[in-house]
């Protein structure tokens, strides 16, 4: 597999969430020239339709459970879950802070590492040749399975193994996206800098790095929710029992299904918070640019 095709591949894959993301969720697809499903989002129905759908699902769910007598292990009633959210709220906050903290530390580490590696790879051909296949392989491999490795290396009583898992998970999209941005200099800018007799350093400073910024931010936006997912899943592989993931599995093991779902709901909220933060960061940084990287 050629490295180049592979890279398009990996970023294309990551982009599935990316392209549909901004316009679809934010409902603000009007600004960009992004083609695709979100173009059809217009007017009040953008908000109304999903809200109605969401309420309908909850109502049907409640009815199926209470009237239809669906057993709780299959699906507890929304009211039961809500009750548990109330009862467990302090614990939810505490465990969410642990998992969120791991995700955040890993996200920052992985982001910095991914961007630095991509810049290094863009400058030194040898580095690109060596790093690219490893990152591509990492994108196909279940990285969370590395959790036990880090646990044996760093010990099971610290948060480091999980943070490292998150870091590795985050590096992949950030590296792929940044590397792509650094490669995608428009030919006209290339020529212009030659015509201006710019030095290599000026070329990097004036054209290449600023041009890659939207791609860097896209990488961050894609990595942010992935960091939360990785932080939660890493908890299923043992180690400290102080995060959301551990609470879900221990509640499920104790047949406290409504409680487990309460922690699932908290995980979803945490994931959304990271996603929206990533989206916001991307929007803020690239607000003056047409099109953007996606």
């Amino acid at each position: 597999m050629s490295a180049d095709r592979g890279e398009i591949t990996a970023s294309g894959g990551v982009g599935t969430g990316g392209l549909a993301g901004p316009g679809g969720v934010g409902g603000a697809g009007g600004a960009g020239a992004v083609a695709g499903p979100e173009r059809r989002f217009r007017g009040a129905s953008v908000v109304v339709a999903p809200v109605i759908f969401g309420i309908a699902v909850l109502v049907v769910w409640q009815l199926v459970v209470t009237v239809g007598g669906l057993p709780a292990f299959l699906l507890p009633a929304p009211t039961a879950i809500a009750e548990q959210i109330g009862a467990q709220f302090p614990v939810i906050l505490e465990t969410a802070a642990v998992t969120g903290g791991n995700a955040l530390v890993g996200l920052v580490l992985g982001f910095v590492l991914g961007v630095l590696l991509a810049i290094l790879a863009a400058g030194v051909r040898l580095v690109a040749d060596l790093i690219t296949p490893v990152v591509l392989a990492a994108s196909a491999v279940p990285i969370v399975a590395l959790a036990p490795v880090f646990t044996t290396m760093f010990g099971s009583t610290t948060e480091i193994p999980r943070r490292l898992v998150v870091t590795v998970v985050v590096v992949v999209p950030v590296y792929v996206s940044t590397a792509r941005g650094l490669r995608q200099v428009r030919p006209v800018h290339d020529e212009l800098m030659v015509a201006l007799a710019a030095t290599r350093r000026q070329y990097t400073r004036f054209v290449r790095l600023p041009g890659a910024v939207p791609y860097v931010m896209t990488g961050l936006r894609l990595a942010a929710p992935a960091a939360v997912i990785a932080a939660i899943v890493a908890e299923y592989f043992g180690g400290l029992q102080n995060g959301l993931g551990s609470r879900i599995s221990s509640a499920a093991a104790n047949t406290a299904y409504a409680r487990a779902w309460a922690f699932v709901a908290a995980s979803i909220v945490l994931g959304l918070v990271f996603f929206l933060a990533g989206l916001l960061a991307e929007r803020l940084v690239t607000r003056n640019r047409p099109g953007g990287a996606s």
Binding site: M193, A195, A197, F206, P210, N288, R289, P290
Partner: protein, 275 residues
Amino acid sequence: MTATGTDAVELQGVDKTFGSVWALAGVDLTIGAGEFVSLIGPSGCGKSTLLRVVADLEEPTAGSVAVTGTSARQARLDQRYGIAFQQAGLLDWRTVVENVELPLQVHGVGKAERRRRAVELLELVGLAEFAGSRPAELSGGMQQRVAIARALAPSPRLLLMDEPFGALDEMTRERMQAELLRIAGETGAAVLFVTHSIPEAVVLSDRVVVMSPRPGRITEVVGGRRPPVSGDDRAADTLDPDAVEDVRETAAFFEAVTAVREALRKGAATDGPAA
């Protein structure tokens, strides 16, 4: 000989081959100081390649190239020419004025000085009020004017333009032509202008250089109908926009257009049925 007296471009026996493709064959061309010369011809006739050779973006396979009295490479390093492409190629993340400053920034001009010069140039192209805007907020014609201002930033004696109005609609295009003539008159820079459009070449140029492909070569040089500029009186508005409009309606204009068209047809005929 003073700097302004030197020919802007002097090409002798320039050949350029890309592998087995003969892009330019034995091109001789001299552009005097302040002269406006257009290159016209069908796709693949090497007109863009010729401009790129002058800009030192391509190296000629054979022949000699002098730009403002020095080598093409030295002219590029010294910023003796300014260049504009078909795409404006502005940097999206910089404001309009910062884009105009770019060539000066690359060459280490101080912040205050380059800002002063950039504002001056934006006034010249009539975009002073958009200095703080982002390129994306500007229309295609406005972006191209910013690109021209950028090309003019180092006060070059030569302006190289590769189909700069090619992507614009006809109305904008004619307005930009008048604008360019005014700017060329005010700065006194020589212009080498690549275009597909016969009327555009005629109305802008002192001379229209007609080229034909396979191999790319100059087949004929036709006199253009560049409207006269009132000499040294640069303080006043030296070119009335109406003057350009008037030129388009003169018999001499149509004659020149016909002459260029004939020359192009002849070039195509010698080239055989492939054209």
